[in-house]
């Protein structure tokens, strides 16, 4: 964050980009700060986000998909839905963009040291959970945690993000990685079925565990009862919210859920916190 003017983005360049899905609705951008000092000062945690800025178009809040353990380049997976995100999809390598952040609280991973971690992801909401997984599996961090379970689903194979990364996790013996699609299709070698179903099969024990859950509303709606049936408490489940945002620092007043601002107090909230807030998100 720029101390003198928090609205001022840091100049950055697009290093490379690829479309993640055949319909080109999702594009992952690798971004580097122009100034190495900025890159060194941009200290972020998994689960935080940044405002991606294009001068003349505006800003869009996007979760950081890279992990701070991966170096100074940042990864963002952007869904093309509006003016700014369409312009982000049209950028070419070398083009300039602005990055304002890091913003938000991120997942409370340091507080969860010593616990088993269950990650449940659906669709392209996996972005900041990719960051969390890469961070957790970093040799410096992995030993601080117990079992790590990663459950990830999408409608079809081509909608699953970061296949190279999670296929790599499947080959490891220190993580239980389950990837699923909604309906069977030819050539698919992993699971078939909805995420809540897979979660039920895995049946992670609640004791000494915490879960990070991010996905479409239907996935959340059917996954939470599974956790509940397994004896999980609301304090153990963390979710990341999205709301329309502008300032990103808890001032402009639009992203609130009850008395909490998603941009500042979130985007990560425990289910226990959300239970105390009006369900207006």
């Amino acid at each position: 964050m720029n101390a003198a003017n928090p609205y001022l983005p840091f100049p950055a360049r697009l290093v490379e980009a690829c479309f993640d899905t055949p319909d080109k609705s999702l594009r992952t951008l690798r971004v580097a700060f122009e100034d190495p000092e900025t890159a060194a000062r941009f200290v972020y945690r998994p689960g935080q986000f940044a405002e991606l800025s294009l001068a003349g178009k505006g800003e869009s809040p996007i979760g950081i998909a890279s992990s701070p353990t991966e170096g100074t380049h940042l990864l963002f997976t952007v869904s093309r839905v509006g003016l700014v995100t369409s312009a982000l999809h049209a950028l070419s390598p070398g083009d300039r963009l602005g990055v304002r952040g890091p913003l938000g609280n991120g997942y409370p991973l340091p507080d969860l040291a010593g616990k088993n971690i269950v990650i449940v992801a659906g669709g392209y909401a996996v972005t900041t959970l990719r960051s969390a997984m890469v961070w957790l599996l970093d040799p410096a961090n992995r030993k601080k945690y117990g079992l790590i379970t990663f459950i990830y689903g999408a409608r079809s194979p081509e909608l699953l993000l970061y296949p190279d990364v999670w296929r790599g996790w499947m080959g490891r013996d220190d993580v239980d990685c389950r990837v699923t699609i909604d309906n069977a299709c030819q050539g698919w070698d992993c699971l078939v079925g909805f995420v809540p179903r897979v979660l039920k099969d895995v049946a992670p024990a609640s004791e000494g565990s915490a879960a990070l859950v991010c996905g479409p509303p239907a996935m959340i709606r059917f996954s939470l009862p599974v956790f509940e049936d397994l004896g999980w408490q609301p304090e153990q489940i963390f979710m990341s919210l999205e709301n329309r945002m502008k300032c990103g620092i808890g001032i402009c007043g639009r992203c609130n859920v009850g008395n909490r601002y998603v941009c500042k107090h979130g985007p990560v909230f425990s289910k226990a916190e959300l239970d105390r807030l009006p369900a207006e998100y």
Binding site: G56, N243, I251, G253
Partner: protein
């Protein structure tokens, strides 16, 4: 200057002129049905008889449109953003009502929260703006500051509080800046220290006027019994789920005039504007009454109808802000929204409805420790 000074009322223009050395001085001016802050002109004189200004003075610290940064859209510098430097102009606002000053004190806590959430534009303007308040001796019919942690002679947010005593004006310093300002005033005109017999009489007169103003509000059918007490005891989930909201929102047009005239409404939008090869990023006042305020790019909207949007405004003022600001209501009782609402929605009646409903609402099943009256 630690103590209050008594000046002849006829000396006030001279004092304002002295304060105007090195500062732009603004005073409330009435033109037709509108009262607005305008640059002080000694030749036009000034009146101390006005109700609350039509719009709050918040635009002096939080302009309706404000440039946050500039950029080029072409050439090698394209996309590089530069902070828009704020001018060095110093300002003095004279005649700020205690309710509006209380709103500034409240917004200080919104715009300057901590290291990560500090709005430099607000902070710098606030630092460069001196506020000389004018105590209310005759509140408007829509005033209810006494129910909102305020009062007609309150000093929160001010540097000096002026009290009109008829032929004389009592200037009471509040801050160190105000004390320095009072010393300037004492050089421009003869000020009598408010002590001894004469000072006691002046302070007594001011006190009488304060009690008179409070009595006006106490006699209003809308103010007595107005309290956040029950709302503060219930959980935000319970207040949010009250059955009163559809009826309150029913007549609302979502026009947003309440938010624009409100001295504590501070929500803003950020937009880019371009022309030729350059552009700027500006923030504009926004309103929670707008559908677009919360609409996601996906089409989803957490506040899809006016019921949710109207509820948000009152929840923000009477539940969320008190929760975040140690019990301080997010309303200062200036009454502007009551006067301006084209559908006659009266925030005092809304609070009363919230209060009544909170007293009888069942406890929330999700929040076992909720206090119920």
């Amino acid at each position: 200057m630690d103590e209050a000074l008594i000046f002849s009322r006829l000396d006030v223009p001279r004092i304002l002129t002295a304060w105007g050395a090195g500062r732009a001085v603004y005073i409330p001016e009435t033109a037709g049905a509108q009262t607005a802050f305008a640059l002080f002109n000694p030749e036009r004189g000034l009146s101390l008889h006005f109700g609350n200004t039509t719009l709050s003075p918040k635009s002096f610290l939080f302009p309706q449109t404000e440039c946050l940064l500039r950029f080029a859209t072409r050439g090698p510098e394209a996309g590089l953003c530069q902070t828009e430097p704020l001018g060095a102009q110093k300002r003095l606002l004279f005649g700020v009502r205690p309710c509006d000053a209380a709103a500034f004190a409240l917004l200080d806590r919104v715009f300057v929260q901590d290291d990560r959430s500090t709005d430099p534009f607000w902070a710098l303007r606030r630092e460069r703006t001196l506020l000389v308040g004018l105590a209310c001796n005759s509140p408007d019919e829509t005033c209810f500051c006494t129910a909102m942690d305020g009062g007609p002679h309150n000093t929160a947010g001010l540097d000096i509080l002026a009290c009109d005593l008829g032929d004389e004006v009592l200037l009471r310093p509040v801050t160190d800046r105000g004390r320095a300002l009072l010393a300037e005033a004492a050089q421009a005109a003869t000020g009598v220290p408010a002590r001894g017999e004469r000072g006691g009489a002046a302070l007594g007169q001011a006190e009488t006027r304060r009690m008179g103003a409070e009595a006006v509000m106490a006699r209003s059918p809308f103010v007595p019994g107005l309290t956040l007490e029950a709302v503060s005891r219930r959980s935000q989930r319970t207040v949010h789920a009250l059955g009163i909201w559809p009826r309150i929102a029913e007549t609302c047009l979502n026009c947003g005039v309440c938010t624009f005239t409100c001295p504590t409404c501070h929500c803003f939008d950020i937009q880019d504007e371009t022309k030729g090869g350059s552009g700027r990023r500006v923030r504009n006042w926004d309103t929670c009454m707008s559908w677009l305020f919360t609409a996601h790019a996906s089409g989803h909207n957490p506040r899809p109808t006016k019921v949710e949007r109207v509820r948000q405004r009152f929840m923000h003022k009477f539940k969320y802000m008190p929760m975040n600001l140690g019990g301080r209501p997010g309303c200062v009782g200036c009454g502007r929204c009551v006067r301006q609402c084209p559908a006659n929605i009266d925030i005092r009646e809304v609070l009363r409805a919230m209060d009544m409903a909170c007293r009888i609402a069942p406890p929330s099943s999700l929040i076992p420790d909720e206090a119920v009256s």
